[in-house]
Symmetry: C2
Subunit: 209 residues, 2 copies
C-alpha cells in the first residue's frame, strides 16, 4: 500500500519544501489541482528534478482534451495524471492513450460520479490503471467521507483503488481494511505542525508497523 | 453580443501574441484550461497588465474547492472564472461566493451535464452570472456541436449564455440567432493563418455589420 502526499498549497517553494521534509515516508508526490493551476508545469519539472526516484502525480482533473493535457504533463516528468470520471468517455480514452504512449499511468477520479461501480467497471475495461474514490474538500466540509463509496465499489469491481478525502491518523485504519493500492493524505500532513512526523506516523500504519 | 477568444496554446509568449494581434476585435480574452495548467497564474497577471481594458476569463473548470481556486484567480487579475456544472453544488456555491466577494463573475460550464435545463435553472437561482453551453474538443471530434443544447436550454431558462465548441465563420450565423451573451471562438481564430483577419471577420458578424 502506497502513501501519496497531496500538496495543495499555492507556492512552488512551499510545495518543494513539503516534499523534501516528508521524502522518507512518501511514495507518491501529488501536485494538487489548485497548485498546478497556480504554478504551472514548471513545478512538475522542478519536482521531478529534485525527487527523481519518487513517483510524481499531477492532479489534472482533466475534463476535456484528455490526450493533450496528459501529453504535456508526462513530457514534463509526471508519472501519473488524473482525469475526471464525469468527463466524456472520449476524454478518458485520450488520457489513457497518452499514458500508454508514454509508458505512464492514469487515475480516473470518480468524484461526483453518480453511479460509481458502473463507471469503475467501464474505465477498468478501457484500460485505466487506477480508479480514484474521492470525496472533495467541499464535500468533506459537508460531512462526506470516501469510506462508504470505497466499500461499495470494491465489492463490485476489482481494480487498484486510490482513495482520498480527509484521511488522517484517526480514520486511516478503517480505510486500510479496504486494501486500496494508494492512500492519499493531504492536510493531515501538510497542515501538521511537524509534517515529517505526521507523514512518518501515517506511513507506519500503511506498512503495518 | 461579445466575442471571447479562447487561447489553448501552451506557451505564454504565443498566448500574449495572439491576444495582441486580435485585440481590436476581441472583448474577452480567455486563458484556456490546458494553458492555465501549463503556465500558471503568472500568465493571468501578465495578460491583465498588457490588456487592462479587456475582460479576462480564466477557464479554471473547477471541480473542487470552488472558493479557493476562484479567489487566487481573481486576485491575480481575472474578471471571470469558470466552474463545472458536474461539480458538487457546494463547489459551484464557493466559486459564486468568491466572485461576489471580489465584484467579479462566474460562468457555470454545463459541459457533460446530463440534464442541462435543470442545472441551468438551479445555478441561475444560486447567483451564477452566466451559463456555459459547451461541446468539448473531444466531443466536437465526435461530431457534437453546442447549437442543439443552446436551443433547448434557452427555451426553458432565461439567463445570459456563453456558447462554445467549434464555432467558426461558417456556423456562427446559426449561433447568433439564439442570442447568446458571449460567443467563444478558439481554433477558428488562433489556428487561422491570419488571426487578426479571422477575428475581424467573426467580430463583424457579432456586431451585425
Amino acid at each position: 500500500m502506497k502513501l501519496q502526499l497531496a500538496i495543495d498549497v499555492l507556492s512552488s517553494e512551499e510545495a518543494l519544501a513539503l516534499a523534501y521534509k516528508t521524502r522518507k515516508y512518501v511514495d507518491i508526490i501529488e501536485i494538487g489541482t489548485p497548485l498546478i493551476k497556480h504554478e504551472g508545469v514548471k513545478l512538475v519539472r522542478q519536482m521531478k528534478a529534485l525527487f527523481p526516484r519518487k513517483k510524481l502525480l499531477v492532479d489534472l482533473k482533466t475534463m476535456d482534451v484528455g490526450e493533450y493535457e496528459a501529453d504535456f504533463c508526462f513530457e514534463a516528468g509526471a508519472d501519473i495524471v488524473t482525469v475526471l470520471g464525469v468527463a466524456d468517455l472520449r476524454t478518458i480514452e485520450g488520457a489513457i492513450k497518452s499514458a500508454k504512449k508514454h509508458g505512464k499511468k492514469v487515475v480516473v477520479d470518480l468524484i461526483n460520479v453518480p453511479d460509481k461501480p458502473k463507471m469503475a467497471k467501464k474505465v477498468k475495461k478501457m484500460g485505466a490503471d487506477y480508479v480514484g474514490i474521492h470525496s472533495g474538500i467541499d464535500q468533506q466540509n459537508a460531512g462526506q467521507s470516501p469510506l462508504k463509496d470505497l466499500k461499495r465499489v470494491r465489492k463490485k469491481v476489482k481494480v487498484p483503488f486510490v482513495v482520498a478525502g480527509g484521511i488522517d491518523e484517526k480514520n486511516v485504519g478503517r480505510i486500510l481494511r479496504q486494501k486500496p493500492a494508494v492512500v492519499v493524505v493531504g492536510g493531515a500532513i501538510t497542515g501538521a505542525k511537524d509534517p515529517k512526523k505526521a507523514a512518518k506516523c501515517i506511513a507506519k500504519r500503511l506498512k503495518g508497523r
